[in-house]
């Protein structure tokens, strides 16, 4: 069964109709930002309160927060490639305490729901973060960034279904807020990992995070360009991979999917929905235009109205698309 043959998804048309539902949140449209690709606080310094008046996303996902403050990687942190980039930012952030003190009050002023993205290097750390945010009603949902090693097992938390299951099982009881597990694309089977997360109570999954990549200094042969050695590839260059992984995960889980990876316009957002996503996140494209999210949302609404397709109730399991590449 190909996506068009799926039982048509009854529901409310996006444009002009009632607001979109995602994890019980009321979203004005199905476009949110990808974690780490929009800093609403810095953007407000650059653009002023116009940012609040015309906020480009239907929800705001903050950059990954860790328990302790992190400086991030030494520069250079960016490399441009064909239709994309590599970043080796290294998750700089003020740590939980700094976030709660400085960022949370400012982010609470945003006109959209706030989703906090967290990461820990042990299950215990992730649990501490989840528990800490569980108490804050400004926080609408939590996203778990599992693209990092568990220092206790040596495994990437999100690359192995058992590792992911154990993590979700550990943190699930710590909050009633919706938990979104952000999958890593650098693994054999994102579908298996997503199914494991769902089985342990994840409310949604999001994908893809960046693909591991590397570049060399063009002027100093043999020297890696990025301060961090390697980094993560994002942008249009990864869109085809993202669509394939979203389709693979859709075939395995019922929970809603936040699809992302290289989305630049409404047609591509529509493709992401057809692959199986319920809402779409825009990342790298925001670097080219801070209002990209709003433009994608407008183009998507037009494209869906035009094609007569309406997004439906989230989480209907669909058949896999053949992959006999």
């Amino acid at each position: 069964m190909t996506p068009d043959q799926r039982p048509s998804r009854p529901g409310t048309p996006l444009s002009g109709g009632p607001r979109d539902q995602f994890l019980g949140l009321e979203l004005a449209h199905p476009i949110i930002n990808a974690s780490g690709t929009f800093d609403a606080i810095a953007a407000r310094r650059a653009f002023g309160d116009a940012l609040l008046a015309r906020f480009p996303f239907a929800a705001f996902v903050s950059k990954t927060v860790t328990l302790e403050p992190r400086q991030g990687n030494p520069p250079p942190r960016l490399w441009e490639l064909a239709g994309g980039m590599i970043n080796s930012i290294g998750l700089p952030n003020q740590g939980l305490a700094g976030y709660l003190e400085h960022d949370l009050p400012q982010l609470a002023e945003l006109p959209v729901p706030l989703i906090v993205n967290v990461m820990g290097f042990t299950r215990g750390q992730v649990g501490e973060l989840v528990a800490a945010f569980a108490e804050h009603e400004e926080v609408a949902a939590l996203e778990l960034n599992v693209s990092c090693p568990n220092v206790e097992t040596g495994m990437i938390m999100g690359a192995d279904p058992r590792e992911t299951a154990a993590l979700v099982a550990h943190v699930r009881p710590l909050t009633r807020k919706p938990l979104i597990v952000k999958l890593t694309p650098n693994c054999t089977s994102p579908g298996d990992v997503a199914a494991a997360a769902e089985a342990e109570g994840a409310d949604a999954v999001s994908l893809i995070n960046t693909l591991r990549g590397m570049a060399f200094d063009p002027r100093r042969p043999g020297i890696p360009w990025l301060g961090g050695g390697t980094g993560g590839v994002s942008g249009p260059a990864v869109r085809a991979v993202a669509l394939a992984q979203v389709a693979e995960v859709r075939a395995r889980v019922e929970v809603p999917i936040v699809g992302m990876g290289g989305v630049q316009n409404g047609r591509q957002a529509r493709d992401m929905l057809h692959a199986g996503a319920d809402i779409v996140a825009v990342g790298t494209e925001s670097f080219r235009d801070p209002m990209a999210g709003a433009r994608v949302a407008a183009e998507l609404a037009e494209s869906l109205a035009y094609s007569g397709i309406a997004p439906g109730p989230h989480g209907s399991r669909r058949e896999p698309i053949a992959h006999n590449a």
Partner: protein, 259 residues
């Protein structure tokens, strides 16, 4: 009150109205309806057509440029030197082409304290923010510029009454702009500098030992220009700062070293 002129939210498409060559540099003028930038602020630019398909299938991201000059009618001039696929494409722009523009961004130069004599020191494409700063400061500001050779020194014509040094001695002083700085610097100065890192570091070190305040307009690779990517950090005495929102002009006192 904000510490900067705010940018309109979202990139805007501006028509290119003129192009001119000045030796090694291209100056491209666009008509913009945004606010007047503070001298030292910058814009993220991308050609509206064919931004891509150059060397290594680039550019893809927009590029950061200081504004060279703003005219009364809202015309903005930018100065480009072809050093890669992005600048190459921008150098090709001609009247009638379209340019995506986001800005003004970042924090520009801060006015001299009363009694301090502004000394503007620059080199290469670093002359761009000094030109608009000179336009603002007026005749008080003395300008010292360094270039590789005569072809590049043609850029000095974009400022008024600049003293010039060239590496090859073909124009002005045969040597470094810091030689000129040594001659002109005294304790009553405030130095505003923009240029390649080794020049900035020499300026910083000299001002430090002379006990003179300096503001340095730095460069770093940028993806977004508005604090979104955390890619443009430079090390300061208080850790990494994002040059696009906390700079590009930094107080020399905050820097250990320009590298």
């Amino acid at each position: 009150m904000s510490d900067r002129t705010l940018a309109p939210l979202g990139r805007r498409l501006c028509p290119v109205v003129a192009h001119a060559r000045h030796g090694a540099y291209d100056v491209v003028s666009v008509l913009d309806e945004g606010p007047a930038p503070d001298p030292g602020q910058f814009y993220m630019l991308a050609a509206s057509e064919r931004w891509g398909g150059g060397a290594d299938e680039r550019p893809f991201l927009p590029r950061a440029f200081s504004v060279l000059r703003r005219h009364e009618d809202g015309r903005l001039d930018f100065l480009f030197e072809d050093v890669g696929p992005g600048t190459r494409r921008l150098c090709e722009l001609r009247a009638g082409d379209g340019l995506w523009l986001l800005g003004p961004l970042g924090i520009g130069f801060r006015r001299p304290e009363v009694g301090r004599r502004p000394l503007l020191v620059g080199g290469g494409v670093g002359i761009a923010p000094l030109a608009i700063w000179q336009d603002t400061l007026g005749a008080d500001a003395q300008v010292l510029l360094g270039f590789r050779d005569a072809r590049h020194a043609a850029g000095a014509g974009l400022l008024r009454d600049a003293r010039v040094a060239t590496d090859d001695g073909s124009v002005g002083h045969h040597g470094l702009v810091t030689d000129l700085l040594r001659e002109e610097l005294d304790g009553s100065c405030v130095v505003y500098a923009c240029g390649p890192p080794p020049m900035l570091e020499a300026v910083r070190a000299r001002c430090e030992s002379a006990g003179v305040p300096a503001q340095l307009a730095l460069e770093s690779g940028m993806a977004c220009g508005f604090g979104a990517c955390f890619g443009c950090v430079v090390p300061t005495r208080s850790g990494y700062v994002r040059l696009c929102v906390d700079g590009p002009v930094l107080d020399a006192a905050d820097l250990e070293l320009v590298a």
